[in-house]
Amino acid sequence: MIAPQPAAADPILQVRKLSKRFGGLWAVRDVSFEVAEGQILGIIGPNGAGKSTLINLITGHLRPTSGQVLIDGDDVTGSRPWVIAHDRVARTFQIVKPFRGLTVRENVAIGAMHGSERDRSVRDALATADRVLDLVGIAQHAGAAPSQLSVADARRLELAKALACRPRLLLIDEVMAGLRQKEIEAAVELIHKLRDGGISIVAVEHVMKAVVAISDRVLVLHHGSVLTEGPPQEVLADQRVIEAYLGRRYMKRRST
């Protein structure tokens, strides 16, 4: 008798026909994809394609009109954000949301105190915060106020806050926007370091160079639906994707 094969591990994130309607507008429509553990999925698409809405739907900040979100095979569709956070899913916000009245260290400590596997005491959380700040590279600003950070450092703080929750899945929303060349390279390096540490990542991005550098696979959203999915080089060469970004008229002019 052949022993039955053990079931393959569930992908860490499964999104099935996820949809969100605002009045008459479908912001996200029938989006489905999977992220295997240890993978980095890049999500790109022109402005207004629904990328941030998608993140909000997965993390519980918005309730889907229909569809499912599964983390490690468990259905978490429509759960509140803190439930998702306790499921070891963390996110950053496109426009960073630091706790302005607290120091950088305290900002990160909050995640350590309240995320999954939270620290039992404030002191432990502050220690964890210091370690995370070290990891992302802004330990020197630990005692500063968030308003004093540069754009790049503010993004790192946003990342640190998310990392303090000890996530296995991290959703990051346009962390490269407005960064300079060197800063982008450093950010890419950090993301690789995180993945090597065992975190799966979904990265919504606009900066193509970064997308290519970090993603194992890329998903393209257009008008709320999936246009195509595949390895980065393939997707970026796809005519449909180029047309989505640059418009039909540009394509027409190019072909003539």
Partner: protein, 325 residues
């Protein structure tokens, strides 16, 4: 070791106030008793309004409910005060959770008015439950002879009672502020969405903060009822309590433990002074002082001095420009 000196200082002050009682005259005792009451109320408001950022304008509802619970139990059912007081707290918390769950979904001004409306509504309901509460005619707690379920505490007794309530409120606030829950409250205050995404159950935090605040206020109301013996609904559901609570916290400095303490002591002493010395002008001056303090110390006196110390900038004029358009 740096952490324990505020605690030591607090205990020292408590013992000092206790000892002070022997030295002062009854008039001053009464004044200090009122100060203690407001310290408790201010600390309570600060928990939901200062730390969590949900400025409730209906805290007096819990005060009145606490007062009436004790009065009804003692008058109608001859329950001892010491048994009635915990019930008052429970009722206050129950009401807080009851209105908190729907109302804490509102923000800013809407939450403020909704809680104000809830307080007015609570007063009206009590006002109309005449067979139980005596309605508009007021209620009296029996305090003499064998009619009294508990002997009246007397001025010295109430001095100690309110001192204990005030001390308890300061202690609770101090413990909360340093705890993970305290950080959660502040996080909810500063960015509710971000707080939710790092794992804070924002609904639970808000309701608990509201409930703790209500418990303290209800307890104070219970003691107040016993102290006053006889009162009308308008006495214990007086919006002035709410206004004073808020002013004391704002002037002292919200979001700190020391702020409400400073605000309550300072303002109550000031109010008494005005009442005694300025007669008919006292409300006018009081209003003017509120206006001036809000303009010159919008972040509160304690916070102003804390920030000024840090940045070595004590300029009040600079402070005025902070929130200016």
């Amino acid at each position: 070791m740096a952490n324990s000196w505020p605690t030591l200082a607090g205990i020292a002050v408590f013992l000092a106030m206790l000892g002070l009682q022997q030295l002062i005259e009854p008039g001053t005792q009464r004044l200090l008793t009122a100060v203690f009451l407001f310290v408790a109320l201010a600390q309570a408001w600060n928990i939901i309004g200062g730390y969590t950022g949900y400025a409730s304008f209906g805290q007096v509802a819990f005060f009145g409910l606490g007062a009436y619970t004790v009065a009804v139990l003692m008058n109608n059912y001859h329950v001892s005060f010491w048994a009635a007081m915990p019930v008052a707290i429970v009722i206050g918390v129950a009401f807080a959770v009851g209105i908190g769950v729907p109302l804490l979904r509102l923000r800013g001004h809407y939450f403020a008015i909704a809680t104000l409306g809830a307080a007015e509504g609570a007063r009206e309901v009590i006002n109309n439950m005449t067979p139980v509460t005596g309605g508009g005619g007021g209620i009296t707690i029996p305090t003499f002879g064998d009619q009294a379920p508990t002997a009246y505490l007397g001025k010295p007794g109430f001095y100690i009672a309110f001192l204990v309530v005030a001390a308890a409120s300061v202690a609770i606030a101090a413990v909360l502020a340093r705890s993970r829950f305290g950080y959660a409250m502040v996080a909810v205050n500063q960015d509710e969405d971000a707080a939710a995404s790092v794992g804070i159950n924002t609904t639970l935090v808000k309701v608990i903060a509201f409930g703790v605040s209500a418990a303290i206020v209800a307890c104070a109301g219970a003691f107040y009822a016993f102290q006053q013996i006889a009162f009308y609904p308008t006495d214990v559901f007086d919006t002035s309590f709410t206004v004073l609570m808020v002013i004391m916290v704002v002037i002292g400095g919200s979001g700190t433990v020391l702020g409400p303490l400073v605000g309550a002591v300072g303002l109550e002493l000031l109010a008494q002074y005005l009442r005694v010395n300025l007669g008919i002008y006292n409300q006018l001056i009081f209003g003017a002082i509120i206006v001036l303090v809000v303009i010159f110390f919008p972040q509160g006196v304690v916070n102003f001095f804390r920030d000024a110390w840090r940045s070595r900038n004590f300029s009040i004029l600079d402070n005025v420009r902070r929130y200016r358009l």
